[in-house]
Symmetry: C2
Subunit: 191 residues, 2 copies
Amino acid sequence: MHAVLLQELKKHINLTAAEEELITASFRYKKVRKSQFLVQPPDIALYEHFVVSGCLMEYYLDDNGTQHTLIFAPEKWWTTDLHSFLKKEESRYYIEALEDTELLIITREALDNLLKEVPLLNNYFRILYQNAIMGLEERLLNVLSSKVEERYLRFLKKYPQLENRLPQYLIASYLGVTPEFFSRVKSRIHR
Amino acid sequence: MHAVLLQELKKHINLTAAEEELITASFRYKKVRKSQFLVQPPDIALYEHFVVSGCLMEYYLDDNGTQHTLIFAPEKWWTTDLHSFLKKEESRYYIEALEDTELLIITREALDNLLKEVPLLNNYFRILYQNAIMGLEERLLNVLSSKVEERYLRFLKKYPQLENRLPQYLIASYLGVTPEFFSRVKSRIHR
DNA sequence: AAAGGAACTTAACCTAGTTTAAGATGTTAT
DNA sequence: ATAACATCTTAAACTAGGTTAAGTTCCTTT
C-alpha cells in the first residue's frame, strides 16, 4: 500500500530505509466509497491526500450552484484544499470520491514533522508544487485563449485514463461549459 | 538594493549574517527600461527575477496574436517562465518591463547551489510556490465562474497599486476580455 | 421485470462578450 | 507646434456558449 507512495517519491528523490520507515509511519490508510466527501466546506481540510487507487475530484460550487472542477486526482495524484490545509481556515473547495478510492493521508502536523526529519522531502514537494503551478498556468491560458474543442483535446492528453471513467457532465465542468454545450461540441467533433 | 530581497525573505524564514552574504552574492543586479524584454520566446528563461522597483508582466501570445496576461509583477514579486527556467526548454511566455525596472536575478545553477548552502530557503520557495498555486486556483475559478465586473473588482483588490499605473488594455488582457468590452464594463460600473 | 431517476441529446431562443470601424483624446518625437 | 502614433470610447452587427425544455437512453433499486 505504502509502496506505491514510496515509488512515487523515489521518482524524484533518494531515500534510505530509515527514511522510508518514517514516511510509512506518517501516512495513514483510508478507504472511501464512491460519492463520499473527503473535504466539505466549511470544514477545515485536515489532510493532504495521496490517491493509491480510484479517483477524487476537487471542485468549487459557485453562488448559482454550478460546479467548477479544479482537478481530477486519479492514481498517484495528490490533492487537498491547499489554502485550508496550510492556514487551518475554512475550506472553500469540495473533495469528493468519484469511485471507491484508497488513500494515504497525512495531517499538517505530521507533515511538518516529517519534513524536519526527512528534509529531502522539501525537494519533492517543491517539485510537486512547481508542476502544479505549470499545470495551472497552462489551464488558465487554455480557458482564456482556446475554444472548447481544443480544451477537450488537451483534457484527453492530460488524463488519458479518465475519458471513459467519468460521466460527461464532469468533463464539461472541468472544461468550463454546460453539459448541453459539451454534448453539442462532441457531436461536432465526431463528424 | 539586496536589502529589499533580504527583508522579503525574512518575512518567512530567519537568516544568519553568513547566510545573508551567501544570498547577496548569488543574486545579480539588473536594470531595464520600459518595454524591454526579460524573456522572449523561444529563448530559454535564464533567471528567476525578483522585482526591486518598477513592474514586469508575464504573458502568452496566442496564435491570433492576442496577448494573455499571466501575472503582473510589481515591487517584491517574483517572476520567470517557470517551465523554461526549470527544464531549460524553450520559453513560451514573454516577460516584459512595463516601467523602468530594477531587478535582482539568479541563474538556475546559482539557485541550486544556494538552496544546498542555505537549505532553509527551500522553505521560503515552498511557501512562495504554495501561494502561487492558491492565487492561480482562485484566478482560474474567477474566469470560470465570474462576470467581468466581479473579476475587475478582484483585480483591484489584488493589485491596488497598479490601477492607475497600467494602460487599460493590459488590465483587459489580464481579465481575459477585449479592451473595447472592458471600456463598456467600466462605464457601466461608474453609473 | 418494472419503475424511477440519473445522464445524455437535440433544438429554439437568449446573452455576454467579440469584431469591425470610426471618432476622440493623449503622448512622444522632431 | 505639429506630425505620428498609441490609447480610449461608442456603437452596430455578429458568434460562442448559456438556458430552457422535451425526449431518449441508461442505471439502480425494488
